[in-house]
């Protein structure tokens, strides 16, 4: 196994630990926004798709890359926008409310 692979496993495990420690502190209240947020962040596979769509590896690669860019972008844009839309709705008791119907 190459040194690079070992270093990558380091990075993976450390990131996993940071993720675990951070996410265990997220209240159940925000679990749905958490899922859409991590979904948006996992849209980072866009990074790999972009290279594929823009590189010169043949038509098939370009087609696959373009589909991948589209799918990942839906998640990134949709995920961040939806998360924000949901988080905007969470208000405290003293926050201004809509007039009671």
């Amino acid at each position: 196994m190459s040194l690079t692979a070992v270093l990558e496993i380091y990075v993976f495990l450390l990131a996993g630990c940071v993720g675990f420690l951070t996410i265990t502190k997220v209240q159940p209240l925000l679990h749905t926004p958490l899922m859409s947020a991590t979904n948006a962040i996992a849209g980072i596979s866009l990074v790999g798709s972009l290279v594929l769509a823009g590189a010169d590896h043949g038509t098939l690669s370009t087609v696959l890359g373009t589909i991948a860019v589209t799918a990942a972008t839906i998640n990134v844009v949709g995920g961040f926008m939806l998360t924000d839309r949901m988080l905007k709705m969470f208000k405290r008791e003293d926050a201004p409310k809509k007039p009671a119907a």
Binding site: P28, T62, G79
Partner: protein, 460 residues
Amino acid sequence: MKEYLIQAAYLAASLLFILGLRGLTSPGTARRGMRLAAVGMVLAVVGTLLHHDIVRYEWIIVGLVVGSAIGAAMAILLPMTAVPQRTAISLSFGALAATLVGIAEYIRLGAEMAPATMAALGFEVLLGSITITGSLVAFAKLQELMKSAPVTWPFQNPINIGLFLLTVGMFVSLVINPGNATVFYGMIGLGLLIGVFLVLPIGGADMPVVIALLNSYCGLASSATGFVLGNNVLIIAGALDGASGFILSILMSKAMNRSFRNVLFGAFGGETAALASGPAGRLTVRSTNAEDLAVLLGYANHVIIIPGYGMAVAQAQHEVRELMTLIEARGGTVSFAVHPVAGRMPGHMNVLLAEANVPYDKLVDMDDINPEFPRTDVVMVIGANDVVNPAARSDPASPIYGMPILDADKAKNVVVLKRSMGTGFAGIENALFYDPKTQMYFGDAKKSLAALVSELRHLQ
């Protein structure tokens, strides 16, 4: 020099993602956190566009524009009740992107791949393909394109184990001999099949576990992509997503009293086959109407509302909030008891009630609210069943025995809003409904609540 710039952008993006998730630990900091994460994403994308392999931009622009348009339209137009299915379909998209990148990488390198790279690529396409179809089936069930009841067939477990072993065999053979394209595509095909088989036996009430699990697979597929491409930001973001899905699936399985092993191998669903026991037929239920209920609620000091999937189906969250406002205007207090697996995904009820302008400090988690029930005058159960079934505490023969529940039966009065006397998802009778202090208020939750609100408004 350009390469350093790209790496700097990736490092910044990784840090911003972590800070962003950290923001989610409190509703007050969450929006700012997510903006940081979004900035991180922009940095990562801009950094990538400098990559030396990218020679043309037209298809990138097409993908970005089309994807943004679809993503934005979904995010803006989506009704909050449809968030679970949107989550399922987006997991499918994410996995699709990872799998396609993996296939393209295999086409490019194929036989020349080092065993370690091939192993990472194997994980990438396998987790990816399982998640693609698994999420699509979950989506179809949540969107009610197909029945949400568990689908079972003969020899289900032996078939699944056989498929699993076959896949492992193909994986190993690919690592030894990466050049065999038939095995590679065959493995993807099997992954797609496993995804279908994994989720078909899952019933609606188990969806929170399965969605969290697919979320974890999707994250790990992204991480594996990072290993294949030697890209740290992918590894990190994928690991964060994977960890999040993993934690949520543990929390959800705990809240349903299922072992984690049970969840990990997806072998759940079938076991909760109806095992009707309890007092059905021997006792009668007491049903009530809007007028009597309005009097009960109008003079109650402490009211706890327990929302369930039935509230989401009836889209009754706004009527629930009106009811809360009226009770509070009459001097009572109202809080909401949210079971971790209420609804179809983690946190589902909280989002719906927040949408209806219920302040989030009134949404209380199970462990915090359970001691409050004995002091509560009226508990209102809206479209929930198994999460308030006392058999989980008292009846070792019950399939849900041991599952943590909301102690609704300890309150002075219980009102259950329900469409009919049907059993819950697990097909188990609920003794709470036959309790002498329980009143059943039958009908569609939205209409029932609207009638109740109007009665309460006219109460002197």
